[in-house]
Amino acid sequence: MKDAIIVRYCEIHLKGKNRSFFERLLVESLERALKGIKHSFKTINTRYLIEDYAEEDYSLIMSRLSKVSGIHTLSPAKVVDSNFEEIKDCAIKMVAGRRGEFKVNTNRADKKFPMHSVELSREIGAVLLDNYAPNIKVNVINPEFVLNIDIRECGDTLIYTDVIKGVGGLPIGSSGKGMLMISGGIDSPVAGYMLAKRGMRLEAIHFHSYPYTSEAALDKVKTLAKMVAEYSGGIKLHIVKFTHIQEEIHEKCPDDLMITMMRRFMMRIAEKVGKENGCQAIITGESLGQVASQTIESITTSNAVVSMPMLRPLIAFDKLEIIEISNKIGTYETSILPYEDCCTVFLPKFPATKPKMEAVLKAEKALDVEALIDEALKNVEVIAY
């Protein structure tokens, strides 16, 4: 009897002739996640088995796997030889200490196994009742736990009770690469996570306005990028010095358009840096109507400067729904650290919520847009996580 972790994937079985492509990417993701931890890796039909790891590494392995896109569920399991005695002993050990209503579920892929699945379930169920009744009771309709027995063709049997939900989605690398605009707030790390979940590789770009925002605020963004990187299999963070552009806009353009104009510059820079780095889309954490820059009018005026697809996974999410995901992926506590995430020094009292394109274009004429962007691009700090 030895320990193993069953890894099941989702959706890949839907991908007809491309299936091997998706499977290869998932295996790559798994190996990347388990880098540095001793283990062996086995494929059985549409599942993977992680084995031969040190007992003390179990929690670490589970925690890493819980962040791998493309994994549907995980089960800590025991592997025994496919014979009744071994299965019985293992089942007794596994159910020790448990209470409540249960059932036994057998999957008999190995048709050479002498007992039928229903028969085996019944026999094992009886053995368990002999050992642990009245603490446990059979309920085949609505059990509190299920003892699963999976008799594989290779002569091994997997036995497990717990099925833990994984990230879901598709393996990293199956959906191209996107440039995440990351601010340090709650939304952008969640947006990054959601596209990583759909298999997108990520790079991230942050606009820093020192001395108007602090170094502590930048450290926070770095921490968040690192957290998202655990889901996206790494992130390259581009830090753009944005101060001069902000000062120019503030000096030369109408106050109420400040944010719209800033967004337009950010988008242009994100697209340029994205193209240079092989990204096919820009990702933002915008949620419709959440703030002045996220009304449909503001989105229209800022979107107009880029040709790359803009992905806004949170566009229809309420703040509370975003916070829920943020808590789930562990970024919330960092996101709410009290440092300003974008420069509020220049924030107008009454930002335009419905900026007009003509007004924006006219205001932009006062600036040497290309020169400002070139200057910003000359001075980009890059950190790889």
């Binding site: 001395p211 108007y212 602090s214 170094e215 000062e247 709410i336 009290p338 440092y339 300003e340 509020t344």
Partner: protein, 374 residues
Amino acid sequence: MDKIIYLDNAATTKPDVKKLELATKYYEENYFNPSSLYRGGRKVSCDISLFKSALLGKNRFKKVILTSCGTESDNTAIFGFCKRGNVVSTMGEHSAIYNSLMKIKEKGIEIRLAKLTKGGAVDQEDLYSKIDKDTCFVSVVHVNNETGAINPINLIADRVKEINPSCIFHSDGVQAYGKIECVLSENVDLYSVSAHKIGGLKGTGALICKEKLNVPPYIIGGGQEGGVRSGTENVLGLKLFADVYTERLEKINSNYEKMRRLKEIVTSGINKDLFTVISPDNGSSYIVSASAVGLRGAVLQNMLDDEGIIVGTGSACSSKKPFSRIISSFTKNQNLLNGVIRISFSPDTNEEDVKYAVERLNFNALKLSGKINK
């Protein structure tokens, strides 16, 4: 950037390196556990008594309980004595007091906070009016850590005890100890102090208390500090604390005179078109708080940091809690609250550096103002 001009001494001070060397040497030779009974241990135990009496200075009928910091001293006092009825304190307390009181409040004890006057000193009449027969504990900060306002705690303690003789009077003396002359009145039951604000080490604090007061234990264990604060004594920190305090005490008046000149350089030198001084004239000369009204203190702090000049701000630049709790209790002017910076000195601060810092402060504030206000 080679030279650093450090003007955030209310946050912490540079350690007194010469005395630290002496204390290290002492510690190398006297590393025995003070609770052990062999000769070495007994010597250290005797020395600890001497160091502790040095920390008392001219105070009589008081004793010293060692702690790890000012915050622990405050917590020991509050969680030890705030058990029933109501607790009276001020809006000008450090978070170590304020947040502890908020914790006590959850247990159903009423917390009454007295208003501050402009500048940050407690409104004494308001304080006295909040005390009644059910008041079990009164805490008033000695020198306000953000504005430098001084509360005359001996006078306040005497008056408090006239109103309710059975309550315990505590004062957080972290920004006063070793800086302003003070022999505590017998009515001051508890007084929190910290070493790193006067050239000592972080991780060293003390609670000075009335000799006959039984302080309930806060950390339980081997019974050190008369059972009030168990844990092997921080001998190195204590030795240095005693040494730096002794010197501070000897020079207390000449130092204060020097600080007065430094404060004067700041208050008279800053550009009055840009800055409003928040600190009261009669406040501690060690701290000057001012606001670059309409600008943001944290931005000025960053700009000066780039030039090697380190100052504090009234608040951590924060979008959630943008303003200082203390200063916003006596002014609601958001532009003023946003622009708070705090300049604080130590005896090794020199006049030339302060003059230069004020010049750069004015320069940067003007530059920032030009960028913000088109």
